[in-house]
């Protein structure tokens, strides 16, 4: 049913259609609207046999999900930013134990300085946690990916994080097709856990494993991720057959990547999440002028689809990765993953760190990126839209005065003085 609806509400109603048994949450912007909606839905009795647990921290939120999942309950939670960092220990634990929890991550920057706006620093910090990470391009895919996520998680017994850009998606009103529960039931069968805490068939879960088997356990985690790589396109196809659209969005989206005019493109921009829409718009513009440009979206960042990315970029001359996060001291995070995929392709690769802490990535900015790439003036690593004036002044300050004061506050003061 089509609804003009906020992204968070759409996700919440989709989650409800997935019939979770335990939902737990601790509020953090911009995740709040999702869990607020779910509380209401549960209280209204709109999910059969579902418990909504208000916990006292994200650490406990993930822990409750772990307990619930190990007891054979379909478990869901949502968080963002600092909340994700606060639950890091149980995040790793959930994947280590192989518990198919689904979590929405409303992507948000990480402080300090504290910042509630969107970027991908939070998700990127957990790229090695053993979770599957799926990135939504728009609100329809944000909603749909959760259905896929539960199915995938339960098939291979691993947790899945669905990443949607905070505010940009979570708080955006759009027309969304809210799925029919009967269709969801067709796609997502009842949860049959691989292991469960059951007095009738007791097991000990969570043993201590030493050097004699630890490597094997870790390797098996990798094997599961590779299984997910094979499963995602299959499940996406099945999803399409039932729901009549692709879970990860339009344009060749197979659950792993989204290809947009990549086949003959000489320059391809690679991105995760909502910015892909902006890039596609600019690609359309440039294609209209005859430029051979394209876009590649990564839906599944973990597992990383090395082969699919390779095949999509095999004819590209220049690849620019537009990243909403970066690794201080080296640069791009997604870029290094892309580089691994295309080591044998003779193309140049650039990193454009953009949109940190909620700074908008405009069409104009994307045009500039394309332009400088075409002109050959694109540096290997660039921070787009950087205000060098602010930076120079702060660097000067620190050079002059040992006690130069708090950096963020200095910058804000300079901005005000401008």
């Amino acid at each position: 049913m089509l609804k003009q609806i906020e992204g968070s509400r759409a996700v919440a109603e989709t989650i409800a259609a997935c019939r979770p048994a335990v939902i737990c949450a601790y509020p953090i912007s911009p995740q709040t609207h999702i869990v607020e909606a779910l509380d209401e839905i549960v209280r209204m009795g709109q999910i059969d046999d579902c418990e909504f647990v208000n916990v006292e921290s994200e650490f406990s939120a993930m822990s409750v999900a772990i307990g619930a999942s190990a007891t054979g309950a379909r478990a869901y939670t949502a968080t963002a930013s600092q909340g994700l960092l606060f639950m890091v220990e149980p995040v790793y634990n959930a994947s280590g134990l192989g518990l198919p929890i689904v979590m929405t991550l409303a992507n948000r920057a990480i402080g300090a300085p504290i910042n509630i706006w969107n970027d991908h620093s939070d998700a990127m910090s957990q790229r090695d946690s053993g979770w599957i990470q799926l990135y939504a391009q728009d609100n329809q895919s944000a909603a749909d990916l959760h259905i896929l996520a539960f199915r995938l998680a339960e098939e291979i017994s691993l947790p899945v994080m669905v990443c949607m850009d905070g505010f940009i998606l979570t708080h955006a009103m759009e027309e969304i097709d809210i799925v029919d529960r009967d269709l969801v039931d067709k796609f997502l069968p009842p949860f049959v856990p691989r292991q469960v805490l059951d007095p009738a068939d007791p097991v000990s879960i969570g043993a201590m494993v030493g050097p004699e088997a630890f490597t094997e356990v870790r390797y098996l985690a990798h094997v599961k991720q590779l299984q997910a790589l094979e499963l995602l396109p299959k499940l996406s196809k099945e999803f399409e057959e039932i729901f009549g659209r692709r879970a990860a969005g339009e344009h060749d989206a197979d659950g792993l990547i989204t290809k947009y005019f990549t086949d003959d493109a000489e320059i391809v921009l690679v991105a995760l999440g909502s910015v892909l829409g902006t890039i596609k718009d600019v690609v359309d513009e440039l294609r209209a002028t005859g430029q051979k440009v394209g876009a590649l979206g990564i839906t599944s960042f973990r597992p990383f689809p090395l082969d699919a990315v390779h095949d999509a970029l095999v004819d590209a001359k220049k690849v620019v990765v537009v990243e909403r996060a970066f690794a201080p001291g080296i640069g791009g995070i997604v870029s290094s993953n892309i580089r691994t995929a295309i080591t044998n392709i003779p193309c140049q690769i650039f990193t454009a760190v953009s949109g940190l802490g909620g700074r908008p990535i405009t069409r104009e900015l994307i045009r500039k990126i394309f332009a400088s790439t075409v002109a050959g003036t694109m540096p290997a690593l660039t921070f787009t839209d950087l205000n060098y004036d602010l930076i120079d002044r702060e660097i000067e300050r620190t050079n002059q005065n040992r006690r130069s004061g708090p950096m963020a506050e200095n910058l804000l003061k300079d901005l005000g003085a401008k």
Partner: protein
């Protein structure tokens, strides 16, 4: 369940890990000698029969008891219970009333007509026992159990020896005595009364394979006391004997008894029962030095017997007695003071000790007599091969219990001797001393039980004036036993092991599972009764 590798495991799989290899010490169940058993002259397994009594298995308790002592109803009345003196429980509150439980079991056996079962095949050996007192009856019983043919010859008109002729009926009712003797007779033991054996040596000629001399000390000791011609002086043994025979002597209204032993008190109390309104016991030392048992004294005082401590009888005349007061010197010995006093007395009873009439061994040169008693070896055999002796006739404490022990000992020795074997004493286990107990686990008596117990304790003085224990109080009293040094089935070891390395086979029966026992020692430390030792592992 298709379990994830390594992190999810099958329950209980640690049983594959044998932690017993960590152990330096291992727990070992032991049976130590409880102090009651250690102290019992009759060698009773007191703790053992109390164990059955605790469970209310009275017949089994009685049967365990009579393995050593065939006269529990009697001993439950007249024994001075050294077991209770030794009882570890006295360190906590009061000794267990072992004697009262014994009496209860003995009475119960009479009431239920429990009999001794002789299962041994007849050996064809004939044994003569001279005297039917406690040692003679005990020996007869134990020999009969072995299948021997036993004849007792008794000079008196009725069997029982000192139990009949030395102990007044108010302490030992004759129907009790008769009942326990007849139970022994029922085993096939022949008792020939009014049959005095004049010559022990001659009896071997009658075909007896062994002879046991079990004569009691029936002769009262005499002392020289200046006396008028008409002074009435009797000895205590005779007084008690005549009374027991139903021909009590004329003692008069006022009686003085001279002596400080139990016999003196018996004589005084008997005198009261024979009509004397005043009975005074004259003793030359103090109460602390008195050989008579405290219980006896208390009962005597309760009955109005008057004690004259630090006094000697220096002269007896018709109707009066002169006593001299004594004073303790610095060494604590009584010395004459020269201070005299006259007491009115119709008769004086001397209770200055007893002797054994050993005329039966006159002429037997190989039998040595020293200080009025027969010399015996470690197996109670005299210098005459085949002639054994026990009870009052040999050195040792002259109590009925001791005599019963002699009877048992002699019977075993005779049995071995008859088979040309030397009798081997069983090893005595180490003592179960109080410091080995963990008394925490013995709980307080429930409030409702306390008054009953107190009543039971008061009743434990074998006076027939006070009835014995009933079944309920007997079980309470039995359960006060700490079971020193012997498992009583409390499950502590089974419960307190952090490694589940104690196997409970059944109630009261456990085994250490050495596959898992790490040797921590908690079981031994928490054993209430000290029945577990920790022993070093030998690698």
């Amino acid at each position: 369940m298709d379990k994830p590798f390594a992190i999810t495991l099958n329950i209980g799989s640690s049983l594959a890990n044998h932690t017993g290899s960590w152990r330096n010490e291992r727990p070992v169940y032991v049976n130590r000698l409880p102090p009651c058993n250690d102290a019992c002259p009759a060698g009773e397994d007191v703790q053992g029969w109390l164990y059955e009594g605790e469970a209310g298995n009275y017949e089994q308790a009685w049967r365990n008891l009579v393995r050593d002592n065939p006269l529990p109803a009697i001993m439950g009345r007249i024994c001075y219970h050294p077991c209770q003196t030794a009882c570890n429980r006295a360190e906590l509150d009061e000794a267990v009333g072992i004697n009262s439980v014994e009496r209860f079991l003995g009475d119960e056996a009479i009431k239920q007509n429990w009999q001794f079962n002789v299962t041994a095949a007849p050996t064809g050996k004939r044994i003569l026992i001279i005297g039917s007192g406690p040692s003679g009856l005990s020996a007869a019983y134990h020999l009969a159990l072995k299948g021997h043919s036993v004849t007792i010859r008794e000079s008196a008109a009725a069997p029982g020896g000192m139990m009949r002729y030395g102990i007044p009926a108010y302490r030992l009712p004759r129907e009790i005595l008769d009942a326990e003797i007849s139970r022994i007779v029922n085993m096939g033991v022949v008792i020939e009364c009014n049959t005095k054996v004049e010559n022990a040596e001659a009896t071997f000629g009658e075909g007896f394979d062994a002879v046991f001399l079990a004569i009691g000390a029936h002769l009262g000791k005499r002392a020289f006391i200046p006396a008028g011609d008409t002074a009435r002086i009797l000895d205590a043994v005779s007084v008690l004997h005549m009374t027991a025979d139903g021909q009590p002597p004329m003692l008069g209204r006022r009686v003085v008894v001279y002596g400080g032993g139990n016999t003196a008190l018996d004589a005084a109390r008997t005198a009261r029962r024979l009509g004397a309104y005043e009975a005074i016991v004259v003793y030359r030392r103090t109460q602390e030095k008195m050989p008579a048992h405290e219980v006896e004294l208390k009962e005597a005082l309760d009955e109005g017997i008057v004690m004259r401590w630090l006094s000697t009888v220096s002269r007896v005349d018709e109707g009066s007695v002169t006593i001299e007061k004594m004073a303790l010197d610095e060494k604590g010995f009584p010395q004459p003071t020269g201070e005299f006093e006259n007491l009115d007395a119709d008769s004086v009873i001397l209770a200055l000790g007893q002797e054994v009439d050993l005329s039966v061994i006159n002429g037997m040169t190989e039998v040595n007599v020293d200080d009025g008693v027969v010399e015996v070896d470690g197996f109670l055999m005299t210098g005459r091969r085949g002639l054994f002796a026990g009870g009052d006739a040999v050195p040792g404490e002259r109590t009925a219990t001791n005599a019963i022990g002699h009877g048992k000992h002699a019977a075993r020795a005779i049995n071995s001797w008859l088979q040309d074997q030397s009798f081997v004493h069983a090893d005595r286990p180490d003592l179960a001393s109080f410091d080995r107990l963990n008394t925490w686990y013995y709980s307080d008596a429930p409030k409702t039980v306390r008054p009953k117990l107190d009543a039971a304790r008061r009743a434990s003085n074998f006076s027939e004036v006070v009835q014995g224990l009933d079944a309920e109080t007997a079980v309470f009293e039995a359960r006060r036993c700490l079971s020193c040094g012997n498992c009583f089935g409390c499950d502590n070891c089974f419960g307190v092991c952090p490694d589940n390395a104690v196997i409970k086979i059944e109630s009261g029966k456990y085994e250490i599972n050495l596959d898992y026992c790490k040797g921590c020692g908690i079981c031994a430390n928490e054993c209430p009764c000290g029945a577990i030792d920790m022993e070093l592992e030998r690698s």
